[in-house]
């Protein structure tokens, strides 16, 4: 009895001793050092939006535009696009997860808004995708424009900027609308499908996928107007400027590469390019990598492993039927808003 008690005491002492170091664990301000020490990046992502952040239930693999940017960041830091843990976070928990250090960066089709930027301890880096809120209606309803939606009941996904845009838009137009907020996409789609709502609203990038899941997709049309601006892009914690710079310039690297005609196929040849811009971008000249705290070949590694902006777009977003040409997501040289500051 007493011997057993003594053993118990020893066990407890050992346990307490083992737990004590945990007390001192905290997230330092230097995210890059923490990531490098850990050996992999932790990226907060979506797992249910086809084309942006989607987890394939059969194969267990992630794919999407945002996922590719997580991989690009891992390639920039480690030279290895797979040195990343993709951690799905819910819309409600994403900012808390980022602020408390559970994830290093949030790349989860997150809209850059004033309140989020100014009120929460976060910084929005670069807009990687210009989205906008759109509507889907039944063809039979005869509606061809959002101006005909006064009095409608509208199905919307709860917990997105969509809900507020809807009300702002109705106020602006003096419309009375009834928003019906669902917690899950599936329930929302089904309610719309069964006629509970006259229209379904979501970011335009998500509408084609929602339409595909209806019982009769051809009976529905997506209205051409967009009622909001939804700039999406990576988000980081406030107070770590070095990390902020690294995430920002990794995105710019993919944009600059597209503008300079560097892609995953020709990046090896481009190393011998005599364009000084390309040479600096790929780390042949200068010490741009060192300035960010990573290898000089960081951008070359991103392009080699993930590709430039155009390749990332084609691989993920084009399949949704979202045409890049003529949209804001075209390069600035082609009339869009995708623009990188110069690498010099």
């Amino acid at each position: 009895m007493t011997r057993r008690s003594a053993q118990k005491i020893l066990t407890i002492v050992a346990l307490v001793a083992a737990l004590t170091p945990l007390l001192t664990i905290g997230q330092g301000g230097d995210t890059l050092a923490v990531v490098q020490a850990r050996g992999q990046l932790i990226c907060g992502v979506n797992s249910s939006v086809i084309g942006f952040g989607f987890l394939d239930q059969q194969t267990g693999t992630f794919s999407g535009f945002d996922i590719d940017y997580c991989r690009a960041l891992a390639a920039a830091i480690f030279g290895n696009p797979n040195a990343v843990e993709l951690r799905p976070v819910t819309a409600a928990a994403r900012f808390t997860a980022l602020a408390t250090g559970e994830i290093d960066v949030l790349i989860r089709n997150t809209t850059w808004t004033f309140l989020r930027d100014a009120d929460l301890p976060l910084n929005f880096t670069v807009t990687t995708f210009y989205d906008g809120q759109g509507f889907m209606v039944r063809k039979a309803s005869g509606i061809t424009s959002v101006s005909q939606l006064n009095g409608a009941t509208i199905c919307v996904l709860q917990g997105t900027t969509t809900e507020q845009n809807l009300v702002d838009w109705a106020t602006l137009n003096n419309f009375t609308i009834t928003p019906l907020a669902f917690a899950e996409e599936a329930a929302r789609n089904q309610a719309y499908d069964q006629g509970r709502c006259d229209a379904l609203t979501a970011d335009a990038s998500a509408l084609p996928a929602a339409r595909k899941l209806l019982s009769n997709p051809d009976d529905h049309i997506i209205l051409p107007e967009r009622i909001s601006k939804e700039p999406l892009g990576p988000v980081v914690r406030e107070g770590d400027d070095g990390w902020f710079d690294l995430v920002k310039w990794t995105v710019y690297c993919t944009i600059e590469a597209e503008e300079k005609g560097v892609n995953s196929q020709n990046v090896a040849e481009q190393l011998n390019s005599n364009d000084p811009g390309v040479r600096r971008l790929l780390g042949v000249e200068g010490d741009f990598g060192a300035k960010l705290g990573v290898r000089n070949s960081w951008c070359a590694d991103v392009i080699k492993n993930v590709g430039n902006y155009g390749e990332i777009y084609e691989r993920n977003v084009a399949q949704l039927g979202l045409v890049r040409e003529g949209s804001l997501n075209a390069l600035h040289t082609k009339g869009g808003a995708i623009y990188s500051p110069p690498f010099r």
Binding site: T2, S5, F95, N150, T178, P179
Partner: protein
């Protein structure tokens, strides 16, 4: 054998010392664990700029039903709308679930083969499937399968039924109500006088009677008289009309509310039925036989002899079922009913104040549950007084 003397062995072999030491160590471990959690909390809240100021800023969104509100209202007002919507479904749900549970419980022990089998099938099916699945069933497979707006079922009295809900005419007061109001006030006064007079009269004669009926009768008489004498009918009905997409005007009962209410009532009633059955079976058979022998009918036996005794067994576990119903109402968010959970999550997404809102949500459910417990415990004590 020589008597053992204290102090004749090392202190760590002394059972008393060891006991105290183990408990102390346990205390230290718990304290360290709590300190660690608290440290995390403090550190994280520092980063999150913890605070409740956001409750006062404009919400910027509206919800589909509930207390009247508009776009500019602050977050707390929207949350209040959610709380009231929750209360509406919880209170009505508790009343209906109790009734259905009582009927099903009694039916299950009925001697009628068909009735008891139907009750058994109902209870066993409902108890053994998840509530969320049932909610989706009621919502998409029952209420949303009602006809579309343009093909609404029209019932007599301008009542419409479609998959956007049940639309009833809404009563409102007209000019005539100003005259009627005086008749109502007079009715209350004369009714009270009649009640007191009759009571005194009966008490003096030491006769039983129903003085309340006299008072109530006087009030109703005056109210009806005033209704017909008023220059204009005091109450008019606003009839709903199909305009554009939806019916406008009238009272709307949404399919979301109906589905949540049906789901919660049917689910909880199945559990209450089993508790009722247990309560009734706990009353000794002799009581029932004695009542029947005295010439009471079956229903009278149940109402006057069995149920009052069974209630003492029934009330405490039924309280837990009421609490379950209240907490399960948070599943309403899945089918777009704007209850407190649904609205709170929208506020979280808009403001990013996750920790604060989760605390508020927990506080709300805790208060709701504690209030329910308080009431049920009071009721439990009250019925226990009947015991002899």
């Amino acid at each position: 054998m020589a008597a053992l003397k204290s102090g004749s062995w090392a202190f760590w072999r002394d059972v008393r010392v060891v006991r105290i030491a183990v408990q102390l160590l346990f205390l230290v471990a718990v304290a360290l664990g709590l300190y660690w959690l608290f440290g995390n909390y403090v550190q994280n809240t520092k980063r999150l700029s913890f605070g409740f100021d956001f409750l006062g800023s404009a919400a910027g969104f509206t919800v589909s039903e509930g207390l009247a509100h508009e776009r500019g209202d602050p977050n707390w007002k929207l949350f209040l709308v959610g709380v009231l919507n929750s209360l509406r479904v919880i209170l009505i749900g508790i009343v209906l679930a109790s009734l259905l549970g009582l009927i099903a419980g009694v039916a299950r022990i009925s001697h009628n083969w068909l009735v008891s089998r139907i009750a058994t099938v109902y209870i066993e099916t409902i108890r053994n499937t998840p509530l969320l699945v049932q909610l989706f069933f009621w919502y998409s497979a029952v209420y949303l399968k009602l006809p579309l707006v343009r093909e609404s079922i029209t019932l007599p009295g301008h009542i419409f039924l479609n998959n956007r809900g049940l639309i009833l005419p809404e009563p409102y007061f007209t000019q005539g109500a100003e005259v009627w109001r005086w008749f109502l006030l007079a009715g209350i006064f004369i009714g009270l006088v009649a009640y007191v007079a009759r009571r005194v009269h009966l008490a003096r004669r030491e006769r039983p009677g129903f003085p309340f009926l006299w008072g109530f009768g006087a009030f109703v008489g005056l109210a009806v008289l005033g209704y017909w004498l008023a220059p204009q009918r005091p109450i008019a009905w606003e009839v709903a009309e199909l305009k554009g997409f939806n019916f406008e005007g009238g009272l709307h009962l949404s399919p979301e509310f109906a589905a949540v209410l049906t789901g919660l009532v049917v689910y909880t009633a199945a559990f209450i039925a089993e508790i009722v059955r247990a309560g009734i079976l706990a009353v000794s058979k002799g009581q029932k036989e004695a009542a029947l022998a005295l010439g009471l009918t079956g229903l009278q036996t149940l109402q006057l002899v069995v149920l009052p005794q069974a209630l003492r067994v029934i009330v405490p576990p039924v309280t837990s079922q009421y609490l379950n119903l209240a907490k399960n109402s948070s599943l309403a968010a899945a089918i777009a009913y704007p209850d407190l959970f649904n609205v709170a999550i929208t506020i979280v997404n808009k403001t990013g104040r996750e920790v604060e809102m989760i605390l508020i949500i927990m506080g709300s459910y805790l208060s709701l549950s504690l209030l329910t417990s308080l009431f049920m415990n009071w009721y439990n004590r009250r019925i226990r007084l009947v015991e002899r």
